[in-house]
Symmetry: C2
Subunit: 499 residues, 2 copies
């Protein structure tokens, strides 16, 4: 190679800001988690769909929770033919597109699950990445509230399958129509005046959705004159009167009661609003169906404070919370909180088809869920075991070493030949340590002559390995045993089985 | 909803040009294939890595095979801070970035495998998509040709694991240094004059790489004055003399002989070129190691015609071909051909680190391989079985139906309640047919009173199901049997086990 090439400016080796790389158990743990969730989706009769990661901007629409910046939040570009393309920001918008595109050939109802990365062009923060994983299930074409209750049941089943106990999670349940009814009742909206509906109800929704972070007083400010935060930034309010705000806050705080009592109070709060009454009836029906499936209010509970941030929900909404304390990256301890949610979105597909198509679904945030699981098992030794390492003591015997590694693999034992510079046994053992290997095979020309090999148990030997620097010292170690070459594979097999 | 909304222009429901969606068995078959490949990588001691799908354009570099358009071929955009980002176009460039970024904490050699989608902004064609799957394994930090031979052995092991016989595939093996030696020998390049090396040798490489498509005469034209194709387009040639072209074509056509004979001829052809002789020695060593692992030249064969299109290879190159005939989408029959390849690329990491780091790896094209497997099994009935469908005959009994579906799921049986409009049993049975379900549960109020349910075997019943239009006709069908409600789950379980 010419020296000219070396003068080139070196490329920077960095993961783009807000992105991350996943090594080894980061990937396998996520795979295991997704597999467990998909098994539940399969059990419930859903079929897998993997839509393209890239969509036209037109197909994606503007449904990100951050409605203040509807044009931002996604990664988009123009292709050679000036078509605006973008990375999907969730799995629901692509589903609406796929269903509309293939609806003549799909079974109805169409029940599908999907998993995969989604991308958001948002400001990254600690634990907040621009590429993250979702795992969704949706039923399209089912008006029935059984479809909504099935989503709640699946959520609960998933939590129990992946190792949470009944008291570690709760699925909170609500219905958007009830909030609409209440807004109608307090004369904030008029179902005949849709513009007013869409503006005010979204401000109200977003305000209520912030209750965990801002508390009751903060939400009251947002519903009223507006709120100035610690940094001095001012958020405009919904400009409701004190009476109106009282009525809404009564609604939001009902969640402490039993399902039956809450339903009763809701009926009172929606008053004469017909949309509100329909909402209460749907909620009642969902609760009935979840109970029929054996899930009672200790796990699936009506909570009017659960509204979900997304604008497109039209009926039932639900959100799953993990009541598990975790230590965050900054050392603080908090509850994991919301890891999944969903609801009914009867209007989303209409964007494509012009016709209202009933739809309901749920979405699980895999990264947060994985973080919770990882924290729960943090005291356990769950680092993956590395391969058996066949070390090289004598390059002339390379074919012999290779035969050993081949035989191990043929017996289904994960194994590799050390492929770095083999001069130094210490370095080879250090490598085996780094790989978390349990067994190392060592043989020099003398062993080959005698028909033997040495097998070193690294779990026992790790403590002393640092001291070994030369090829002479490696014998006579306590964690090491001599085995006849012809018995080696059986010996390793037995060791693996005996663990 | 207001009528104003309906006036909005409908969004177009289309997959972006060159992208596709994967339904059901498209996804599960790919998952099964990737899992099988990853099991081999694991067995050989490789650890999984999932790098970010998005990279900085700087980190990706310009290593696409289409060197005529080095700035094109990728999907790229600027983020909020004017950083140029892009979707990865393969898994090797991200690996070079990851290794350089984390090298102080990674074991050396670093042996990793990766799989996932990659994206190319290229003109789509039949069976040629802009998002496709790769599944790679690479060893970084190993000079030894054992590392190269291991790649070839893994390729062969993978083919046999996923169901190809020894005579259905071949791994072709070559070494770039030999070609350099030959170019040196015929005075086309001078290893002291790197600019000439890089230009001419890349034209020669690309010309040879087209031999399958253009034939010997076409390659001769490209090595000489240039070539005009059927459409009239002219490709400039390497402007070599007839003697030089003869020498190169002698080299390219050596693949028909035995490995030993080929190696002998290669030694003759590289003459006094030292880089050429090193190449022959490396090739010899790789062949020796693959044989030591039990893979002989019926499966891993030296073929000087195998050069690989990518510019970054510096030593061993290999390519796996499937000698399996398939029916293409346009009805023509052809051999699948190349589905995987790789080689040694000792300079790629230097872009980041400034130091040469030895590296070798392989990449499998999952989509082509999946297509081959799918074609091989096309006569088999491999459509996935759908869930047991519990139909609804009487909405008043909805809780009873739900209990059935819950019990089935608790027994591990994939099942669902029909969630569409239940008025018409024919429609429910049609839905079950579309889902490829084998069993349907049917019960009306009379059955519930008598403590029975009907179980319909759709495999038997499919032929007559179209005739059933009303809820009255569904009884007395041959493929249908009455079962006591309390024995239902056991009955279904036995049916599933008896398949």
């Amino acid at each position: 190679m010419s020296k000219k090439k070396i003068k080139l400016k070196r490329a920077k080796a960095i993961t783009p800001k807000g992105f991350r790389d996943y090594f080894d158990s980061d990937v396998t743990e996520r795979q295991t988690l997704i597999e467990a969730i998909c098994q539940i989706y399969e059990l419930y009769g859903f079929d897998i769909l993997e839509s393209s990661a890239v969509e036209t901007v037109e197909a994606l629409g503007k449904f990100l929770p951050d409605v203040d910046r509807p044009n931002q939040g996604i990664f988009s570009w123009q292709d050679d033919e000036n078509e605006w393309l973008a990375l999907r920001y969730d799995l629901t918008a692509p589903l609406a597109r796929v269903y509309s595109q293939y609806r003549n050939n799909l079974p109805l109802p169409y029940r599908r699950y999907s998993f995969g990365p989604v991308w958001r062009n948002e400001k990254p923060g600690p634990g907040r990445f621009r590429q993250f994983y979702q795992c969704d299930a949706d039923t399209i074409g089912a008006h029935s509230s059984i479809a909504d209750s099935e989503m709640c049941i699946m959520l609960a089943s998933i939590f129990e399958k992946i190792g949470f106990s009944k008291d570690q999670y709760i699925v909170q349940l609500n219905n958007r129509k009830i909030l609409s009814g209440i807004l109608e009742e307090i004369k904030v909206m008029n179902s005949g005046n849709a513009d007013q509906y869409n503006v005010s109800s979204e401000i109200v929704l977003r305000s209520i959705d912030k209750i965990d972070r801002l508390g009751h007083q903060g939400v009251r400010e947002l519903l009223g004159p507006g709120r100035r935060d610690e940094s001095g930034d001012f958020t405009e309010g919904a400009l409701l009167s004190e009476d109106q705000i009282d009525h809404i806050m009564n609604f939001v705080c009902l969640g402490e009661s039993s399902n039956n009592k809450t339903l009763k109070e809701l009926k009172y709060l929606v008053g004469t609003s017909s949309i509100g009454l329909i909402g209460v009836e749907e909620l009642e029906s969902i609760a009935q169906h979840t109970e029929a499936a054996g899930f009672f209010e200790d796990r699936i509970k009506i909570n009017p404070g659960t509204v979900r941030g997304l604008g497109y929900y039209t009926g039932a909404v639900f959100e799953a919370e993990l009541k598990v304390e975790v230590t965050n990256l900054d050392g603080t301890v908090s509850e994991i909180g919301s890891v999944a949610g969903g609801g009914r979105y009867d209007d989303l597909i209409k964007r494509f088809t012009g016709q209202e198509v009933p739809a309901t679904g749920l979405s699980l945030g895999i990264d947060r869920l994985g973080f919770a699981l990882n924290q729960l098992s943090r005291d356990k030794e769950n680092k993956r075991t590395g391969p058996v390492i066949v070390t090289i003591m004598d390059m002339d015997k390379i074919v012999e070493y290779q035969k050993i590694v081949t035989e191990l693999r043929l017996s289904g034992i994960r194994a590799e030949l050390f492929l770095g510079n083999p001069k130094d046994l210490g370095r080879q053992l250090k490598y085996a340590d780094q790989r978390n290997s349990e067994l190392v095979i060592i043989a020099g020309s003398k062993e080959f002559e005698e028909g033997n090999v040495q097998v070193k148990d690294l779990a026992l030997g790790a403590r002393i390995s640092k001291k070994i620097k030369t090829n002479i010292e490696w014998k006579d170690q306590p964690a090491q045993s001599e085995v006849a070459r012809e018995n080696l594979i059986e010996h390793v097999k037995k060791f693996m089985q005996g663990k």
